[in-house]
Chain length 383, copies 2
Amino acid sequence: MKEVAVIGAGMTRFGELWNKSIKDIFVEAALKAIKDAGVDHIDSMYVGSMSSGLFVGQEHLGAVMADYLGMNPIPATRVESACASGGVSFRQAYFEVASGQSEIVLAGGVEKMTDGADVTDALATAADQEYEVYQGITFPGLYAMITNAHMHQYKTKREQLAAVAVKNHRNGSKNPNAQFRSEITIDQVLRSSLVADPLRLLDCSPVSDGGAAVILCSMEIAKKFTDTPIRVSGSVQTSDTIALHSRSSLTTLKAVSTAAEKIYKMTNLKPQDIDFAEVHDCFSIAEIVVSEDLGFFDKGRGGSAVEEGSTSLETGKIPINTSGGLKSKGHPVGATGIAQIIELYEQLQGKAGKRQVKNAHVGLAQNMGGSGASCVINILEAI
Amino acid sequence: MKEVAVIGAGMTRFGELWNKSIKDIFVEAALKAIKDAGVDHIDSMYVGSMSSGLFVGQEHLGAVMADYLGMNPIPATRVESACASGGVSFRQAYFEVASGQSEIVLAGGVEKMTDGADVTDALATAADQEYEVYQGITFPGLYAMITNAHMHQYKTKREQLAAVAVKNHRNGSKNPNAQFRSEITIDQVLRSSLVADPLRLLDCSPVSDGGAAVILCSMEIAKKFTDTPIRVSGSVQTSDTIALHSRSSLTTLKAVSTAAEKIYKMTNLKPQDIDFAEVHDCFSIAEIVVSEDLGFFDKGRGGSAVEEGSTSLETGKIPINTSGGLKSKGHPVGATGIAQIIELYEQLQGKAGKRQVKNAHVGLAQNMGGSGASCVINILEAI
């Protein structure tokens, strides 16, 4: 396997992009990435998207985007793993370059969620249609069950959940591409509308439109394009039961802990070697559980860790979601995994502006689908 | 790159499988393939599916199927390229094994189309939503335009189109997994209901449920499992404009001719070296155009070739769609590309029963999405 580098990145602002179609959004992100990388062609491309059929009535996204990007006749493949579609897109591109099959590959992700589709219904297709959705469960409901179990088992407090959202909005206020760039308070979170007890509106990531893309190539040729290629040190994908009721525990996401174990082995790194991380905070509880399952904190300590500032940009031993995370940056589901990679790329190049993590050498991105039935972890390093 | 072999295959019967869910269908096919191969594990799996969200309200198919197949925590990736989703699934699995990333990979495809969704609407998401579908065009309409152009330019006759359906039903009558196992006559095709002038009901592939799966591994270890591994000699994927109106010609599918050129170069084979082929006959005209674009016949000669029996199982110099093709075997869109591979696998092993092509050493499978905006060609050989 060849060493692989990220040499360019581009994304749209995340938010309600009513004057842009799904094509406009993807092409904007992809052209920015191509320009940033300085490449004059790509050999292949991946498009991560969860449910463009249900959201905007358009499948066949690989072909659609290759066409509108002016890239025919290259192979263009749409991959889907619910909210982990972006992470999977990156991983496929990584292996395509690592294997020597292609030289320069674009990994992108896109979702257009605000065009009138029934968003909660469309997102519910990431859960078990027969055994969960049919009973009326939605994603806030599934994560609320995880929250209640975690609060019961580990005495995680309501205020600790709120602290995740407050931190991520503080980070997002410094990100020009974030959907919400306003800071919020613990009190505002606690007083926001109840969505699925105990989760409130400000515990939940928003509905968003957005696109993101990165360019990968072998480290060998990366140096032709940039002095600061960012190395992809490892990529792991796992699966777990689709339905919550099939799991032995509600307070651990096994797809995440298994993927973490595998990627630390693959990269010969330990949790303490990670300088900062982007994790999948679709709901505040998710960041807490994932930060434990990645080994950053002991099981059950995720809530107090965020409360004590251990994950903050300013004081944290492991800053988490410096981009603002899904909560503040926005969560156009198919684009999220790639946007996480872009945050790693900018931080590792020292170009994250007001969000810059000091001494950022190793970054980890964790992206997951549904209630954790799929998970992708990628680790990038400055060289 | 390592040499790759197919060592097992399994599929459901194609048809209206009202008593089976999408999970039942995929798992049945996958278990048959695993049993046929005799493997005790798989390292990774791909699920090709076009629009499970619109058809049955279930996305996240990789994770769903890994779970129901009892394969957690392996990586499980859903890929989509409209009706070429199965071909893309096979190609991704092929490269995953060829690169040495994984040892044993399952490539599957599935679609459940008869559960009440608006099928024509769902299929239309493979076309350009903004410029084609919004104007009211459907797939029979798009292929009718191609038919009219071909009839105008090359004097292709209505009876020649009918001959495709008649031949494919004759082949399908010998396939126990085919949806339609009845022979039809030219006259029946010509008298069937008009769908989109000049295409009639019996020119169109049906709406189907079905699943298909194959097992791939490196040739090195293939010999542990079987005495007759089938070699994957090459795999190519291409893209073309999503909308028909953007193309310079309506009578050539450029994604197909480009892919053909690339795969003959990759495998060092010529059209004359191919002993038989499965091609994407979603409509009768498609088989005619594709048989020309693959180089089996001169441009414009596809219609007379089928009429003269050049593509028949019994007398053809290049038997096409010995399985019955999409027309008679059925077309559960995500499964079709894998089912084509299964026909190659059975023919090359000499296990195709009454459909057996004599001296079948090299088989080609051509699968495409939409009106040809994506195309995958795979070549398999007996060793």
